[in-house]
Symmetry: C2
Amino acid sequence: MRSAEVRKKTIYDVAEATGASPSTVSAVLNGSWQTRRIKEDTANAILEMAKRIGYTANLQARGLRRSRSGLVGMIIPMHHNRYFGALSHEFEQEARKRKLCPVIVSTLRNPMEEQRTVEQLVSFNVESIMVTGATDPDNISRICSRAGIRHVNVDLPGTKAPSVISDNYWGAAELTESMVRRLASAGQKKPKPFYFIGGVPTDHNTKARIAGFTDKHLEILGPLPPLHIRANGYDPDVAGGQIRELHAELGELPHGLFVNSTIAFEGVVKFLKSLPRAAFDSCVVGCYDWDPFAEFLSFPVIMARQKTELLVAEAFRLLDSPQANPDLLIEVKPELIEY
Amino acid sequence: MRSAEVRKKTIYDVAEATGASPSTVSAVLNGSWQTRRIKEDTANAILEMAKRIGYTANLQARGLRRSRSGLVGMIIPMHHNRYFGALSHEFEQEARKRKLCPVIVSTLRNPMEEQRTVEQLVSFNVESIMVTGATDPDNISRICSRAGIRHVNVDLPGTKAPSVISDNYWGAAELTESMVRRLASAGQKKPKPFYFIGGVPTDHNTKARIAGFTDKHLEILGPLPPLHIRANGYDPDVAGGQIRELHAELGELPHGLFVNSTIAFEGVVKFLKSLPRAAFDSCVVGCYDWDPFAEFLSFPVIMARQKTELLVAEAFRLLDSPQANPDLLIEVKPELIEY
DNA sequence: GTGAAAGCGCTAACAC
DNA sequence: GTGTTAGCGCTTTCAC
């Protein structure tokens, strides 16, 4: 690790070393050299010298001049989470395909941090921004719009920019249906009403999931009695307390337990894993969202996995297309994974 | 989402609008204005106007001028992994404290991608780079050094830049000891020799872990018979096959099973969870590395959790300090977590 | 086919 | 206390 005394080479260094002019060097070095019909010998000499003296482009200068940065930004709530990790991964792949450098920043669901971060990304002239799980998507849109920066919401929709989200209604209905089906194949043809745990009922996604769950339940199992929706937040401990309580109330597990989000599910699992395997003979557990740890549980679960590949692909499609309607809402169906 | 027609405001716009000069505006807007004893009125007027017309700094221009970018780079193998997610998280926190913008890029353990990415980070003039789990740390060092960019290796050491890694020897010994202790407290005072599964024996970390395991084993349980080290890679399925085989050989689980890495552990778990709880009465499982999913397993485990906070903090300390010896190797002790 | 020169938005001497 | 000016390294007309 030499200290920063080493001055980076510039096109002028290459120009001087080859005897060509800076503009020729520039043209050769950034590929824009078919337009300038440069002699192949000149080109080769420049390329070689650049390599020899260890030239690396200064992307800040290039960006300033061309007023584009080659950066593309993504805002996520946090890094240490399977779902957002998967989204980051996909984002990066798509960014790479476009020869852009991904800048993925987490804002910990902190509105101030969120705002500060967008402003920073804007200041770096990122070419576009993907906003996932923001607390205030429309505020972000406001900032981006002022700077003329294209952006999309992912996961959590906004009203001022096109959004790509999970098809929560469809997914919840599908998950519910498949829970019923599994119960039937286990011999339980006439199950008692299901329960829904986790999430906040005012939240856009939770609302849609409750609706999908409720409607499908009505359709195949009849109306849902009151108090069967217990969406009291995402906190694992709260969710854990909820299922413990429910188990005490009923003297057994319910026939169907729909858990909203893996976060809440973690709390639920802590209680469930203490139960004997037989407790699950007439209980099916479903979870909206997916985490690979489900594979290691001692009881079976059905999970709705959000297709992160598709979410991100659609989002990039919107960013690529010249005009995208702010009202546009694209819903991507999740897939069911049974363990 | 307005399209990019909106030209971003510059200090010249603010200067014109307030009647001040660009340099005054610049000084006010970047805080460097105590040195220039600017009148408070002028400053306020400028600040207000900047806000009113929606000025945002152009960090590319600033970076070019000051020849520093305000970016700090991190290279990780992948985003969708708990350990690297935790490292990213810590990295971001530390970057924020230093008012730097984190650029975290994954290279999927692909040497080409790794090289391309460092070069890109160098081109963006990042102030320093943290390299985690690189396939070829020294090649990265070479590139960074040519450009005079400070960097450290984390997790996997290199020889051309200071490194911060887990204290693998100590951690493995400690884990082994605590496995013996648990076995003792479960009534098994004279256990048969343990087994080691997972990892590649040529890999720096695996080597140190095997040494720690072997030495401690020798110390308290006597010498390790041949074939008790079965480090045949990180692949979960291979590791799963290994434990299945071992179980068949022995007719039961070994008294002690040391699994190297959560990746290999996943495969092991898939087999173990199929066993009745009683199978673990005289078997203790240890895993070097930690993943929260352990909490949800139906059998107990002891895990060695790498202290990501400390790893990253130490790494940043090295980056901050003016001269850091390339030979420096800082080892951070992991902590044991018992489930 | 190649070079000269202007300028992207900003900062930091250096004026006054 | 504030303005003028010269670049940072690059791209891109325009000239020859």
